[in-house]
C-alpha cells in the first residue's frame, strides 16, 4: 500500500512538472509569434561578408523562438540582381508564406517584391529602402535609423571637443542613403565650429579597406590637423589607421560602428604615441534582421505586431566614459564578429566559419 502511495505521488509530481514545463514553454513564446503555422524565408541580395553572416544567424535564431514556424529557408543573391529577383519569386512559388528581404539593389527589386505581395504573401523588406508603399507594394518596411547614429556620434564629438574641431567623415559608395542620413544626424547636433575636411557629403570608400586606406592617405597628407574620424564601418579603418603613426601623429578620436577587430586594435594601440585615440561606437546593427523577422512572423502567424517599426542601433562602446560599455576585445575570437550583436560571440564565430 505504501509503495502504491509512493507511486501515485511520483506520478502526480511528474504530471505537475510536465504541466508546469508546458506552461513555462508557452510563457516563453514571444507575443509576435501567433498560433497559425507558417514557413519563412530570409533573402539576402549579397550575403558574402561576415556582417551578413552574423545577421543571417541572428535572424535564424529569432525564427527558432517561434514554434509556429514550420520551415526556414535562406537564399543569397550573391550581388546579382537577376538572382535576387528570381530568389524572391522562387521562394513565393515554392509556397513560403513569409519573406524577409534585404534589398541590396534598392528599388530594382521592388517589382519582384510587389509581385509576391500581390499573391497575398507576407513580405518585409528591411534596412535598405526599396521605394514603394507599405500595404500596396509590401507588408511592412523595417528601416534603420541612421540619422540617430549620426546624432549619437555628434554628441560624442561634442563631449570630447566642446569648442569645435576638424572632422573627416567616411562612408560607403557615392550617394548611399545610409551615409547621407548619418550626415543629417551629425549636422543636427554639430554647429559650424565643427568643420568637415572631406568633400561633400562624405569621402567615398565603398566600404573597401584598400580604398579606405588610399583615401585616408590623401586626407592625412592634406590635413595636418584631424581631430576626429567618423565612419559607418569601423572595422574597415583598422588597416589604414597605422598611417597616422607612420606620419608621426597620434591616431585621432573615432566615432564609428563596432567590430571585434576594431576593439582589439584600440586596445593594442593605447600607448604614448596615441594620446588622442578615443573610441565611440554604435552597434553595427545585426539585430535589425531580428525586428524584420518579428514583423514577418507576426503577420504570417497572427501574432502581435512588435512595438518598434524602425531599428535604432544602441550606443555600444565609449572609451571615455565607459557607458554603456568600455571598449571590448575578444582576442580568442575572430576579428570579423560584432560584440554588440545579441547573438553570443561564440555563435557568431561559428556563423563566420572560424
Amino acid at each position: 500500500m505504501k509503495s502504491m502511495t509512493k507511486l501515485l505521488a511520483a506520478a502526480a509530481a511528474t504530471i505537475g512538472l510536465a504541466t508546469g514545463a508546458a506552461s513555462l514553454a508557452k510563457a516563453d513564446v514571444p507575443t509576435w509569434c501567433g498560433p497559425k503555422k507558417a514557413s519563412i524565408a530570409l533573402l539576402d541580395g549579397y550575403g558574402g561578408n561576415s556582417w551578413r553572416q552574423v545577421t543571417t544567424a541572428s535572424a535564424k535564431q529569432t525564427v527558432s523562438l517561434c514554434p509556429s514556424i514550420t520551415k526556414y529557408e535562406y537564399a543569397d543573391g550573391n550581388g546579382d540582381l537577376n538572382k535576387s529577383i528570381s530568389d524572391i519569386k522562387g521562394m513565393a512559388a515554392k509556397g513560403i508564406d513569409a519573406l524577409v528581404v534585404f534589398g541590396d539593389a534598392g528599388p530594382a527589386v521592388l517589382p519582384a517584391i510587389k509581385s509576391v505581395f500581390k499573391k497575398h504573401k507576407v513580405i518585409v523588406p528591411y534596412r535598405v529602402e526599396v521605394g514603394g508603399k507599405e500595404g500596396e507594394d509590401y507588408t511592412k518596411f523595417v528601416g534603420a535609423s541612421f540619422v540617430d547614429d549620426g546624432v549619437s556620434w555628434g554628441n560624442f564629438i561634442k563631449s570630447i571637443l566642446p569648442s569645435g574641431g576638424n572632422m573627416l567623415f567616411l562612408s560607403g559608395p557615392a550617394g548611399n542613403s545610409q551615409g547621407l542620413d548619418e550626415l543629417k544626424g551629425l549636422k543636427k547636433v554639430l554647429g559650424p565650429e565643427y568643420k568637415f575636411l572631406n568633400p561633400e557629403p562624405f569621402d567615398v570608400t565603398n566600404w573597401d579597406p584598400a580604398l579606405t586606406q588610399k583615401v585616408l592617405t590623401a586626407e592625412i597628407a592634406k590635413n595636418p590637423k584631424i581631430d576626429v574620424i567618423i565612419s559607418d564601418f569601423g572595422p574597415s579603418l583598422v588597416g589604414a589607421l597605422p598611417l597616422f603613426n607612420k606620419s608621426g601623429r597620434s591616431i585621432p578620436a573615432l566615432a564609428t560602428s563596432d567590430g571585434n577587430s576594431l576593439g582589439c586594435f584600440w586596445t593594442d594601440n593605447q600607448n604614448k604615441d596615441n594620446p588622442d585615440f578615443k573610441l565611440f561606437t554604435v552597434a553595427t546593427g545585426n539585430d535589425n534582421a531580428r525586428l524584420a523577422v518579428e514583423w514577418a512572423v507576426a503577420k504570417a502567424t497572427g501574432g502581435k505586431d512588435p512595438a518598434e517599426t524602425i531599428f535604432k542601433a544602441p550606443n555600444f562602446e565609449n572609451s571615455v566614459t565607459g557607458v554603456p560599455s568600455k571598449v571590448q576585445c575578444r582576442k580568442d575570437l575572430p576579428g570579423a564578429i560584432y560584440l554588440s550583436s545579441q547573438l553570443p560571440a561564440e555563435d557568431q564565430a561559428k556563423a563566420v566559419g572560424q
Partner: protein, 339 residues
C-alpha cells in the same frame, strides 16, 4: 655581302630610334608632368607621407600589370585576374588562421591554386584554341567559386607576420615596392635577355611565323598564363598583408588598372613586344593620378572623370604615334622595334 653594302643605304635609323623606346619616353614625360601638376595644385599628394601610403598600391597595380602584360604580349586578355587576386587574398589570410606558423602553408596553397589556374587557362587557350576572353571569364567564375569555397565570402584578418612583411619599410620605401621591383627585374631580364624571352616576344608578334620557324608556340603561350597567375598571386598576398582585413573581392578593382597600365606602357593589344619598365612607371602614374584627385578634394564623380580623361588622353597619345609609325613604316621597316 650584298646585305652589308645595301643596309646602311636604306635603313639608317633616325636619331630617336637609338634613344629609349618611345613608350618609355612618353610615360616618363607624362609622369613628370603629373608630378609637377601635383606639386603645384595639390602638394600634399607628393608629400613623403602620401607617397609612403600610396606606393604599396602602385606596387600592386604594377605587379598585376606585369602579369597582364605577358598575356597581352601573346595577343590575349586575362579577365581571370580579379578572381585570381581575390583567391590569393583569401587563401593567404583565411588559411593561415592568424597563426604565423601556418602562413607558409597558406602561401604554398595560394601558389598552388595560381599554378593550377594558369595551367588550366593556358591549356584552354593555347592548346584548345579557345578565345582568351571567354576562357578567362569562365576561369574567373571558377576562381570566385574557389573564393567562396575557401572562406564563404567572409574576410579574415591577416597574420601578424604577413602584415609586418607587407607593411614594412626598407631604406625608407615600403617593402611592397621591392617586391614589385623584383617582379619587374625578373620579367625584364627573362623577356629581354634570355632566349626564351626573345622567342616569347617573337611568338607574340607573329605566332604563325614562329610556328613555321619551329618555335614551341603553344608552350610559350601557356607559360604566359601561368606566369601571369603567379604575379596575380603575389599581388593578392601583398594585398592580404597591406590591408590587414581585406574583403573577399579585392581583385575586382584591379582588372581595369591592369589593362590600363599595359596600354599606357605602350604595349600593343595585338601582341608582340612588351614594355615592362614602361608598364611599371604607368602603374605609378595611374596611382598618383588617383591620389592627386583625392588630394584636390573634388567630388567622387569628378575623381572618376579625371582618371577616365587621363586614360583616354594616354591612349590617344599612342594612337597618334601609331599613325605616325604607320606613315613612316613605308620608309622604315621594323615597326615593332621603334614603338
Amino acid at each position: 655581302m650584298s646585305q652589308t653594302t645595301i643596309q646602311p643605304a636604306i635603313s639608317i635609323p633616325p636619331l630617336w630610334a637609338t634613344l629609349p623606346a618611345k613608350s618609355f619616353v612618353t610615360v616618363v614625360i607624362c609622369t613628370i608632368a603629373l608630378l609637377i601638376v601635383c606639386w603645384i595644385l595639390a602638394p600634399s599628394s607628393v608629400s613623403l607621407g602620401a607617397l609612403a601610403g600610396s606606393l604599396p598600391f602602385a606596387a600592386i597595380i604594377a605587379i598585376v600589370g606585369l602579369g597582364q602584360l605577358l598575356v597581352v604580349q601573346q595577343g590575349g586578355f586575362d579577365l581571370s585576374l580579379a578572381g585570381a587576386v581575390s583567391l590569393a587574398v583569401v587563401t593567404s589570410t583565411h588559411e593561415a588562421h592568424q597563426n604565423n606558423a601556418e602562413l607558409l602553408h597558406a602561401l604554398s596553397l595560394a601558389v598552388g591554386f595560381a599554378l593550377a589556374a594558369g595551367v588550366a587557362n593556358g591549356i584552354l587557350i593555347a592548346v584548345f584554341r579557345l578565345n582568351a576572353i571567354i576562357a578567362t571569364i569562365g576561369m574567373n567564375a571558377l576562381l570566385y567559386g574557389g573564393v567562396f569555397a575557401v572562406c564563404g565570402g567572409t574576410p579574415s584578418i591577416t597574420t601578424e607576420l604577413l602584415a609586418n612583411i607587407a607593411n614594412g619599410q626598407f631604406i625608407g620605401l615600403p617593402t611592397s615596392v621591392f617586391f614589385a621591383l623584383a617582379a619587374l627585374a625578373i620579367v625584364t631580364f627573362i623577356l629581354k635577355k634570355t632566349t626564351v624571352g626573345r622567342r616569347f616576344e617573337a611568338i607574340g608578334a607573329n605566332p604563325r611565323a614562329a610556328q613555321a620557324a619551329g618555335l614551341r608556340v603553344r608552350l610559350h603561350q601557356l607559360m604566359a598564363y601561368v606566369c601571369a597567375q603567379l604575379l596575380y598571386c603575389l599581388a593578392g598576398i601583398l594585398i592580404g598583408g597591406i590591408t590587414r582585413e581585406p574583403t573577399a573581392f579585392q581583385g575586382d578593382s584591379l582588372l581595369l588598372p591592369s589593362v590600363a597600365v599595359v596600354v599606357l606602357g605602350g604595349t600593343s593589344l595585338l601582341g608582340g613586344r612588351g614594355y615592362p619598365i614602361s608598364t611599371f612607371i604607368a602603374a605609378f602614374f595611374l596611382n598618383q593620378l588617383s591620389q592627386f584627385a583625392l588630394a584636390v578634394g573634388v567630388p567622387y564623380s569628378a575623381q572618376t572623370i579625371i582618371q577616365a580623361l587621363a586614360l583616354g588622353f594616354g591612349i590617344g597619345v599612342y594612337s597618334i604615334k601609331w599613325s605616325v609609325n604607320s606613315f613612316s613604316q613605308t620608309k622604315l621597316p621594323k615597326k615593332e622595334e621603334r614603338k
